[in-house]
Symmetry: C3
Subunit: 162 residues, 3 copies
């Protein structure tokens, strides 16, 4: 192989790792931002027309995500002490699209400690935009043994959309 | 340094990062696959003759892992709603062998929320096979303050087998 | 671009990924080491004059961290069975300095299972030393909805010191 070919191969492999790391970092910032009540910061993780489908909420824009963070129900959660604890994301990049999946638990403060209110799975479809990777669609379901939750888990690991 | 030497150095460093990322991804897929009851997908994380030693189970092949996922006791756990929540893995690669360690909690659904049934440490020995990194040995112990659990934690971080 | 320029660009990008991975690995080793009671190993994650500010403790050297691990209160926690479970770190590298943030929960064994005693946020300032990345300052606060905790979360994601 010529130097040129070896350098081009390295550029492609490095780009893949950078993409995976950028997406993992994006997802790792969700919990801190949403627990801090940073509505603009949380919304900016999504594409302008990105969606977030979670039990009880159907958001279909950055503005909807912003409104969720500012809502009375979310403010009540974070004011009382909360940890939206997301696990390590499994990321599959395909050009300018990507799929990621992770588990998460919602930990809330009670009088005598903390309790887990929810355990869920989040399936992400992401897009490379000029400003970087952003969430195009996120679907979160309770881990309650349902077929829907299992589908998010498996398709997420397989790197397939849902 | 010549261009050739610089390129070779980059190739080696990149390979190390790719190996670490592949192993982290493999481990990050365990929870989703096992909670989904994907017996074949879970088993495929192991080498054909890989082992998994966890309280109550001694598995010594891919087929044994598959049987564990399909077992009545595992099916009862996941049907009721479960999250095998694994933390970020600490990975040490040495050629075609690697050691990884991570914490994990088993979160299960109860009538009024979720509880942590177990908190444990998992120590992994991995091998590079033609199809990619696979688990050669996994040993999981309850974090109960025992010497055995402490050994898995420390040797895991040091990158040493147990 | 000449080959030389392309190689130099790759070297810089790879170095950034290596730095992020090294810091993530450093943070991922804290939980295992501190739950194992490895006082020297835990202390070695800090710079010699590094600090750790957590409710109830103000440590300002490696020796102070070591003393915390060996203290009666920490030994009581780990002897009874504990999991200092840290989430994936969000890391921002700037030359020889870096900022990282992650959530964590302290899981402790009780008679009939495990409970979450604390959920917190940790904000890290790190420095590149001859021996590798080390913690210069770590500040950990309970996720209780306070302004202080929110500041750690947001500044951590923004890659800013506190």
């Amino acid at each position: 192989m010529t130097d040129d070919m070896r350098i081009a191969a390295l550029e492609g492999r490095l780009r893949k790792l950078e993409d995976e790391a950028a997406i993992a970092a994006l997802i790792a910032s969700y919990g801190p931002l949403v627990d801090a009540g940073d509505a603009d910061g949380t919304a900016a993780l999504w594409a302008e027309d990105g969606s977030y489908d979670v039990e009880g909420w159907r958001m279909s824009s950055r503005e909807d995500v912003r409104a969720m963070v500012l809502s009375g129900s979310h403010q009540e959660i974070i004011t009382g002490g909360s940890c939206h604890f997301l696990g390590p994301a499994h990321v599959t990049v395909d050009g300018d699209e990507a799929i990621a999946v992770c588990d998460s638990i919602l930990v809330r403060r009670r009088d005598d400690g903390f309790v887990i209110e929810r355990a869920g799975v989040s399936h992400f479809q992401l897009r490379r935009l000029p400003e970087g990777w952003r969430i195009a669609h996120r679907k979160t379901r309770l881990l309650d043994g349902s077929v829907e939750a299992r589908t998010l888990l498996v398709e997420g690991v397989r790197g397939r959309p849902v």
